[in-house]
Symmetry: C2
Subunit: 324 residues, 2 copies
């Protein structure tokens, strides 16, 4: 069912606002004109502005900014990431939903929700996830050791930051893996995994982007330190294209990850991050460390040189920059 | 409910086959004689051989070898491991059951099942789990980094091997973490975990012991390489005591893990293992390595020196000893 819908949307998009007859559509899909009409009805119900006339056929007036699987998958040329897309109108959190289906899902499956009712950030913190944002999780089943799982988070941070810079905004990665614009958070990444000691069963890379959601939906606390792409660019962003760009770039990064030494990826992270060289205070669940961020390790840990001259390796935590 | 049953079993065990009146039991538990009688009925239904006489009261004829929570918990003096015990008559696998409840469970919760219908070994292999064996999983929520999670498997291997040696059998650890007697497998350990990159949510340490189960229940393939404690000692083992000993020793090991350098634990592993010095062939999901096992790392990886003189670190896999 949804494969045919994806195909119809793909073809209508290719026609770029021109009409195509029901007969032609039917031939392209190998189905009857009546079936075409049924799929069109279903797509119209989903919110696609498809007009039909007996004379000239069907026309997609414009591509609506809804994150339905067929809208994302039509035009996405990935071989792994996003070959399956699962959409929810509302869900507790896309990471939770992904966990529930991960074992039975294909490698590269993407879970998207319009709204997260209990969106989660790193270290158990809540993540406000109203309509207008991009809340997605990617299920990956990499053949890597547990000790290297953190590298997938690094890939995701690079991916989002690069795509945002391509959009013309000055995005930077703040260790461990937030994406900031003008010192305000625009994206968070929550990577979770399930594993035996000897092999990873699956990794869930959750990506939350404040895109077209309203600043007003943030709590007062968040408002000081968060922003949205709409706010930063002055206009709503095309979320469908953004998701496609992210999935496409993530696939490229993942291919690089599987074929090239990790040091090249780390170099790109360093280039895109503004953390190294800064004075930081990091709060972990068990301690607090202050000092100068002097390096990042192959597994994404930060090396902090404290005032006493001793350097410490920190795996993660809440990182604050000292005002300089 | 089950707290009172645990208390009754504890008291009856302390009376060691002598009788105690319903009135005394009721006073000890702060409940009426009628309630005592109801609990006794319930325990009798569970299979406890409790005799009652109007004159002298209640008596536990002998402690039955059933792995019910109250039977395991009464007399177990742990502060963490086994403070909650959940029992199934049949379950898919205790690791699966533990995963389903882990988030809401207390640190140290133990899941036991009489039978596992889809028992799992390492790397997705099946584990035959009929009545008579010990199939349990321990839920732990350690404040350690993902990179150190493998150390908990090492603790479990040491625990089981020590307890078996105390029973008088010559148990050894075969890397990565099987326990063998006379070169045949008597225990397998399957450690799984759920984590964010920055913090572990929970670890499930699954321990499967061929105790009183029948050799005849093994497949022909398994029969060559597996044994049971009953087979090795010539008589059925007391599974309740064995589980108590394991939970108690595991708690001691876990305390040591949290307070002492890991090198001391590793030294004990080396002492209990027969792998170092042997020529091994290891099959991992992605490759095969042959050579001499020359060392174990702080995270339980094996260092193998190959014929070409190059040493490799292997995280896990199926390990075979070369016949020498």
């Amino acid at each position: 069912m949804s494969d045919k819908k994806t195909e119809i949307i793909r073809i209508l998009k290719e026609f770029e606002g021109k009409s195509i007859s029901g007969e032609e559509l039917g031939e392209a899909l190998g189905i009857s004109r009546t079936m075409v009409w049924k799929y069109i009805k279903s797509l119209q119900n989903d919110g696609y502005p498809i007009t039909s006339s007996q004379k000239v056929g069907y026309k997609l007036d414009h591509v609506p900014d809804i994150l339905y699987p067929e809208n994302i998958m039509s035009g996405l040329e990935n071989r792994l990431i996003g070959r399956s897309v699962i959409y929810y109108d509302e869900v507790d959190s896309t990471n939770n939903a992904a966990k529930r289906i991960a074992r039975e899902s294909d490698d590269g499956t993407v879970v998207i929700s319009r709204i997260q009712k209990s969106g989660r950030g790193r270290l158990g913190r809540p993540w406000i996830s109203p309509d207008g944002g991009i809340w997605l999780s990617i299920i990956i089943k990499p053949k890597i050791s547990l000790a290297h799982a953190s590298r997938l988070t690094i890939l995701a941070g690079i991916t989002v930051t690069k795509i945002m810079r391509d959009m013309g905004v000055d995005a930077v990665i703040k260790w461990p893996n937030d994406v900031l614009i003008n010192k305000k958070k625009v994206c968070g990444i929550l990577t979770e995994l399930n594993a035996e000691i000897e092999q990873i069963e699956y990794v869930i890379v959750g990506i939350g982007i404040n895109a077209n959601n309203e600043i007003g939906d943030f709590t007062e606390e968040l408002r000081k330190n968060s922003t949205t792409l709409k706010q930063e660019t002055g206009k709503p962003v095309n979320r469908v294209e953004l998701v496609q760009d992210i999935l496409s770039e993530f696939e490229q990064q993942y291919i690089r990850f599987n074929t090239q030494p990790f040091s090249s990826i780390l170099d790109e992270w360093i280039e895109l991050s503004d953390t190294l060289g800064k004075h930081v205070t990091i709060m972990t669940p068990t301690r607090m460390i202050s000092g100068k961020a002097i390096a990042i390790t192959e597994n994404g840990s930060l090396i902090v040189r404290k005032a006493d001259g001793i350097s410490e390796e920190v795996i993660g935590g809440r990182c604050m920059y000292e005002i300089s």
